[in-house]
C-alpha cells in the first residue's frame, strides 16, 4: 500500500515536471520540428504527436532528470520519420507570415534554412537555445566532437551566405 502511494506521488510529480518541460521548451520544440519539416502545419503535428508519445512513455524513462533531452530527441526523431513518410508528397502551403519572410535574406533564419538539416539542428540547439556542446551531444546522441564539427561547418557555411 505504502509503495503504491509512493509510486502514485512520484508519478504525479513527474507529470508536473513533464508539463513544465513542455511549457519551457515549446518554442524550441517548434523550431526543431519546423527546421526538419519546413512547414508550419506539419511542425505543429510533429510537436503534438511527440508530446503525446512522450507522455505515454514517460514512465519508461528510468532517469527523469533526462526527460528534457529525451523529449527533444523524440521531437527530432518524430520529425525525421514524418519526413520519410511525407517523402515525395507535395508540401502543404505554408502560412503567409512564414512564407513572406523567405524572400528576406537579411533574416538569419532564412540563411540557416539553407544549411544542411544536421547543421541547422545544432545551430538551433547551441546558438538559439543556448545548450552547451555537451548538452547538444546528449540530446542528439552524438559525440561532442561531432557537435563541434557540425557547428564549425555551419558557421563556415553561414559566413559564406551572409
Amino acid at each position: 500500500m505504502t509503495n503504491n502511494k509512493h509510486e502514485n506521488g512520484r508519478n504525479k510529480v513527474s507529470e508536473q515536471y513533464f508539463v513544465n518541460i513542455v511549457q519551457e521548451e515549446k518554442d524550441l520544440m517548434f523550431r526543431l520540428a519546423y527546421n526538419i519539416m519546413q512547414n508550419t502545419v506539419d511542425a505543429e503535428d510533429v510537436v503534438a504527436e511527440s508530446i503525446c508519445k512522450a507522455w505515454e512513455k514517460r514512465k519508461s524513462l528510468k532517469n527523469p532528470d533526462k526527460m528534457r533531452n529525451w523529449i527533444l530527441r523524440i521531437i527530432i526523431n518524430t520529425a525525421k520519420n514524418a519526413v520519410a513518410v511525407r517523402n515525395r508528397i507535395e508540401l502543404v502551403e505554408d502560412f503567409p507570415q512564414y512564407c513572406d519572410e523567405q524572400e528576406n535574406k537579411n533574416n538569419i533564419w532564412d540563411l540557416v534554412s539553407e544549411l544542411k538539416e544536421k547543421e541547422r539542428t545544432v545551430i538551433i540547439l547551441y546558438y538559439y537555445r543556448g545548450f552547451s556542446v555537451r548538452e547538444v551531444s546528449k540530446i542528439l546522441h552524438i559525440p561532442e566532437g561531432t557537435v563541434k564539427s557540425r557547428l564549425s561547418n555551419a558557421r563556415n557555411n553561414l559566413k559564406k551566405l551572409m
Partner: protein, 388 residues
C-alpha cells in the same frame, strides 16, 4: 573561434525569430491542459538565469557602496582553489540548468530572497555556515536545508525559511557563479598554453588527410578555428578545428588538432556526392570484418597500431535486418585504456569519421546505455568483440 561572429549569430537568431504561430500556441496550451487534468502536486522551478538578471540589477544599484562591494568580492575571492574546482566540476555535471525547490516558496520567502540578496552583496551580510551539499537524493535529511546535485534541488524544511537559510541559498548561488566564472577565465588563459602554431596545425591536418584519404591537399582552402572550450569533465583541452573545402577536394573535411601536443584528435570527411548515412542497407558482417584492414592502416598512420588491445564491432539495425543509419562503428581499445572510434559508411564505403577518446570504459558504457534506450524504439544493437 570568431567570437564576434558567434555573438552575431546568437543575437540575430533571437532578433529575427518569427513569433510562434497562434494556432501552435493554442494547440500546445490545450494539450497541456489535458495533460494537467491529472495533476495534484507541484514542484517549483527557480530559474538561475532569472536570478542572475536580478543580481545584475542589484550590482548596478550598488555602485555607490564601494566598500561593501569590496567586502563581497573579497569574500568570494577567499574561496580556496579546491573549493572552486569542486564546485565548478559538480556544476558542470548537472543535468539541468534550472534549480528546483522541494516545495513552493511562500510569497514572504520570495520577497526575502530579493531583500537579503541586496544585503548579501551591498552590506556583506553572509550566512554563518554554508549550505550542506549532497550528491544523491538518498542523502537528504528531512527537515534540513540541503542542495542535491543529482536533481539540482534545494530540499527545504517544511517550516518557513529563516534569514540564515535564505542567505545560505544565496551564498550557494553566488559561490557557484563565481567558481564557474573563474574556471572560464582559466580556460581563456589556456590559449596562452598552446604550443602548436596555427600553421603547424594546418600542416599536420593536411598531412593526415593526404595519408589517410589520398586527398590532394596542396590547393585546399582551409578555415581554422581555435577552440578553447571544454572537451571533458575534467579539463579544457585547447584545439584547432581546421575545415577544408574547395572544388579541388572530392569531399569536405574537418580535422581537430590538439593545440598542446599536435595530436590528431579527430577527422571527419563529408562526401560531396553521396550521403554517409543512408538507411535501408542490409547488414553484411563479412564486409564489416574486411574493413578491419582499413582500420589497421589508419591506426598505423596514427602510430597506434602496435598498441591495439581489442576491437569491437557495433552497429544498429532494424527488425527487417537493415542498418538504422547505414553506418558501422568500430571501437578500438588501446592498451593504455584509451580508445579510438571509427565510423564506416556502407554507402560511401569509407571511414568517414574517427576520433580519440580518453577512456574506453566510458565509451563502452555510453554505447550500452544508448542500446537500451534505442531498443525501446525498436532499434537493436549488435556489439561484439571481433579482434582481441
Amino acid at each position: 573561434m570568431d567570437k564576434s561572429f558567434e555573438d552575431q549569430i546568437k543575437y540575430k537568431l533571437i532578433k529575427d525569430v518569427e513569433p510562434l504561430p497562434d494556432s501552435y500556441t493554442e494547440r500546445i496550451s490545450t494539450l497541456i491542459e489535458q495533460l494537467q487534468e491529472s495533476k495534484a502536486e507541484r514542484t517549483i522551478k527557480f530559474n538561475i538565469k532569472y536570478a542572475a538578471i536580478i543580481l545584475g540589477l542589484f550590482v548596478l544599484g550598488a555602485s555607490g557602496t564601494n566598500a561593501a562591494v569590496h567586502v563581497y568580492q573579497q569574500y568570494l575571492s577567499s574561496m580556496s582553489q579546491t573549493e572552486k574546482e569542486q564546485l565548478n566540476k559538480k556544476t558542470q555535471r548537472l543535468l539541468e540548468e534550472l534549480d528546483h525547490f522541494s516545495r513552493d516558496l511562500s510569497k514572504e520567502e520570495r520577497g526575502k530572497i530579493e531583500s537579503l540578496r541586496k544585503k548579501y552583496e551591498n552590506d556583506g551580510m553572509f550566512p554563518e555556515e554554508k549550505i550542506i551539499e549532497i550528491d544523491h537524493k538518498d542523502e537528504v535529511m528531512k527537515g534540513e536545508l540541503v542542495y542535491c546535485y543529482e536533481n539540482s534541488t534545494f530540499y527545504l524544511p517544511d517550516e518557513e525559511l529563516t534569514d540564515e537559510d535564505i542567505l545560505k541559498i544565496i551564498d550557494f548561488w553566488e559561490r557557484r557563479d563565481y567558481a564557474v566564472k573563474e574556471k572560464n577565465k582559466g580556460e581563456r588563459g589556456l590559449i596562452k598554453e598552446q604550443k602548436i602554431s596555427q600553421e603547424e596545425a594546418v600542416r599536420i591536418a593536411k598531412n593526415i588527410l593526404q595519408k589517410l584519404y589520398k586527398l590532394e591537399m596542396e590547393n585546399a582552402e582551409s578555415i581554422v578555428e581555435f577552440d578553447p572550450a571544454e572537451v571533458s569533465d575534467e579539463e579544457a583541452i585547447p584545439s584547432y578545428l581546421i575545415s577544408f573545402t574547395g572544388q579541388a577536394l572530392s569531399c569536405d573535411a574537418i580535422v581537430e588538432i590538439d593545440a598542446k601536443e599536435g595530436i590528431v584528435k579527430r577527422v571527419a570527411i563529408d562526401d560531396k556526392s553521396k550521403e554517409e548515412c543512408v538507411s535501408g542497407i542490409k547488414v553484411d558482417e563479412d564486409r564489416c570484418r574486411k574493413c578491419l584492414n582499413e582500420i589497421y592502416s589508419f591506426l598505423s598512420v596514427l602510430g597506434e597500431k602496435d598498441y591495439v588491445d581489442e576491437i569491437r564491432l557495433i552497429y544498429k539495425y532494424r527488425k527487417d535486418g537493415t542498418l538504422n543509419r547505414g553506418n558501422i562503428k568500430y571501437l578500438v581499445k588501446l592498451n593504455d585504456e584509451s580508445a579510438y572510434v571509427f565510423l564506416y559508411s556502407v554507402n560511401t564505403q569509407t571511414i568517414y569519421q574517427f576520433y580519440e577518446m580518453t577512456t574506453y570504459k566510458d565509451v563502452l558504457k555510453q554505447e550500452k546505455d544508448n542500446a537500451k534506450i534505442q531498443k525501446q524504439s525498436g532499434i537493436m544493437t549488435k556489439n561484439k568483440v571481433i579482434m582481441k
